[in-house]
């Protein structure tokens, strides 16, 4: 049974979350893009802002529609909150005899309530869960952050120029992974409940049930976002891409894309499912201690494939091939899913506008565009 949260009640939501001990994060305009930052008042939301996205291009514009979530997405999904860009893993002390004491450094901070995650972001979180939580080994740091996160998703009512979640079947409407899911309609939000935590939260706000008109309006908003997407992933991101890629490792397109690719790693850094990281060491100056930390790495770096004096992927061609064959291909072997959720971030935030759907289309011999259905 969906509820209705009026605009005037949004601050009650923030207050309730804060009272429950959460640090509230929500979308805000900062330096020309939409990012998640501390949210204490609904006025901080990006009212009326809309993003124009093209390959290598992102601009915010004020739209006529004075809504808080009239945009598609910003440069980062939920990933930086769960799989942190830099995080210390353990510390070691050395005693006077030279023996070591190791201690795991788990995070210590308030739980986070994130408002404004998109359907593609939740799909990506489910994929990272598979990598870091659900395999043979559990990542204790990721688990800590994951257990201390409450997600209030907001369904998209608009799609950016690089969005293709319809093709990847990961949006624009969130279907799981949230505590609450909001859809912005006239004067407020239709709220769907995703967990017991979400339910008790919404009950504490004394929200009314959403009327049939509001619910229909919400449905229409999601459909509108879906229908405006023009980009698609060839084979609709299916497992078929795996064999297509692995059978085309000598395709001339790899060399062509390597001529444009800067091998800078931006695509992997904004990708909400990329998990590569490298480990670094921060010894103290006195020589008695050291911190072992990790930070985001990328398959576009030399260090990623360096092994005693050799670099397995010494050229951009090999690195781009690694990225695409893994993301859209062998990810299926490892995690029984594609590594792509159709958010389009790697296309937008590539400094030279390389579009993975276009590269995949060239290799698959298929189109990466679809007709607008309305």
């Amino acid at each position: 049974m969906p509820y209705f949260l009026a605009y005037e009640q949004f601050n009650d939501l923030i207050t309730a979350l804060t009272a429950l001990g959460y640090r509230c994060l929500g979308p805000q305009v900062e330096d020309g893009s939409i990012v998640f930052d501390d949210l204490s008042d609904a006025t901080q939301l990006p009212w009326g802002m809309r993003d124009q996205q093209k390959p290598g291009y992102y601009r915010l514009q004020k739209s006529e529609l004075n809504e808080a979530f009239a945009w598609a997405n910003g440069p980062q999904a939920i990933k930086p909150l769960l799989f942190k860009p830099k995080e210390s893993l353990w510390r070691v002390e050395r005693d006077e005899k030279g023996a070591f004491t190791f201690k795991e450094t788990l995070p210590e901070h308030k739980p986070i309530a994130l408002i404004g995650a998109r359907a593609c972001d939740l799909a990506a979180m489910a994929i990272q869960d598979k990598t870091l939580l659900q395999g043979q080994y559990v990542d204790p740091h990721y688990r800590w952050h994951r257990e201390h996160l409450l997600v209030i998703a907001v369904n998209c009512s608009y799609s950016g120029g690089n969005c293709f979640c319809v093709s990847t079947q990961t949006g624009p409407k969130a279907t799981s992974g949230y505590d609450l899911a909001l859809t912005e309609v006239q004067n407020g939000f239709v709220v769907e409940i995703g967990s017991d935590k979400g339910l008790s939260l919404i009950e504490s706000l004394h929200c009314v049930e959403a009327s049939a008109t509001k619910t229909a309006q919400a449905e229409e908003r999601s459909n509108h976002a879906a229908n405006m997407q023009t980009k698609r992933m060839p084979k609709d991101n299916s497992r078929a891409l795996r064999d297509i890629l692995m059978n085309n490792l000598d395709h001339p397109r790899w060399q062509e894309v390597a001529e444009r690719c800067l091998s800078c790693g931006n695509c992997t850094a904004v990708c909400p499912t990329c998990f590569c990281h490298h480990q670094t060491e921060y010894p103290t100056v006195d020589g008695n201690g050291s911190v072992h930390a990790r930070e985001w790495d990328s398959c576009f770096t030399e260090g990623h494939s360096a092994i005693h004096g050799q670099v397995v992927r010494d050229t951009t061609e090999k690195r781009y091939k690694q990225w695409l064959t893994h993301k859209l291909g062998t990810w299926w072997d490892q995690f029984d899913t594609s590594g792509c959720v159709g958010c389009g971030r790697c296309v937008t935030w590539c400094p030279v506008g390389i579009d993975l759907t276009e590269e995949m289309a060239a290799i698959a011999g298929e189109f990466n565009t679809k007709e607008k259905t309305s």
Partner: protein
């Protein structure tokens, strides 16, 4: 403490020099940290040099109740460079064991053919120890080792000892050699002519440079040796050892987790592809 997530403290109890840039460190767990530690031949540990970082090193000693764990290390990077300077009594952090080892249960009752090159012999020493300790469970043992130059051969004494045992045949090859080299001068694949292989009742395990392994697989398949009886140990950049950091991803596998030992058919498609 969970030795997967965080290292435990070990002490160097022996150190030996195998070659100018190869050394062996024997480590002993301090306190009661060895509890629950067992490994299978072919698995590896992450060894930690204080203030510098970790490296994956395969475990030499056999795993049956041993309390000492030998690791043969080549000085190639910054961590191994620093480790080469450590002495008996110094400490090293250890995380492990990791990965999937050699398929010893499958080898029971069969002949075992071990093909190694360069420092590749190190991960195989644990298999040899295991087979020799459980001698009746296995058939004949062939040990083929190739090196670039005869001077590069390490564990020379051990090869002599093994060669003297019944039902063990050791054959050495060097691409180039000094005078009085007792082995073959030429390619390791040529050693396959010198042994009397029972192709239907042998399990082959190989490790070493990939070019050497590819050539050996090629020669074996020419001899009608079944592909699924060939196992090889692969190496890539490994930092976390638990399939999370992504560096050792090889097609649909993480070498640290699904490997480092693979049945040949599982890695066949990408083994010849540059960049994987």
């Amino acid at each position: 403490m969970n030795a997967i997530d965080t290292p435990v403290n070990t002490k160097i109890v022996a150190r030996s020099e195998e070659a100018s840039d190869i050394f062996t460190l024997t480590l002993q767990f301090t306190e009661d940290q060895k509890q629950g530690y067992t490994f299978f031949p072919g698995q590896f540990n992450m060894l930690y040099l204080f203030g510098v970082g970790e490296v994956p090193i395969s475990i030499l000693s056999h795993g049956d109740g041993d309390t000492l764990y030998a690791h043969t290390i080549r000085r190639v990077g910054r961590v191994t460079q620093g480790m080469s300077l450590l002495q008996v009594g110094d400490h090293i952090g250890l995380r492990g064991p990791f990965g999937r080892g050699w398929p010893l249960p499958l080898a029971q009752g069969k002949d075992v053919l071990i093909i190694t090159g360069g420092l590749g012999c190190a991960p195989s020493v644990s298999i040899i120890h295991h087979i020799l300790k459980h001698r009746v469970a296995f058939g004949r043992l062939f040990i083929l080792q190739g090196v670039k130059h005869s001077d590069d051969l390490i564990f020379q004494k051990q090869y002599q000892q093994w060669a003297a045992l019944p039902n063990v045949q050791v054959a050495l090859a060097a691409d180039s050699s000094k005078p009085n080299w007792p082995g073959h001068t030429g390619l390791i694949t040529e050693l396959l002519e010198q042994i009397n292989l029972d192709i239907n009742n042998t399990l082959c395990m190989m490790c070493g440079p990939e070019g050497m392994m590819r050539a050996s697989v090629q020669r074996l398949t020419q001899l009608n040796f079944p592909e699924d009886a060939i196992y090889l140990s692969l190496e890539r950049n490994m930092e976390c050892a638990v399939g999370h950091c992504g560096h050792c991803q090889f097609g649909g596998d993480f070498i640290c987790k699904e490997g480092p030992v693979f049945p040949y058919p599982q890695v066949k498609a990408l083994l010849n592809k540059k960049g994987f």
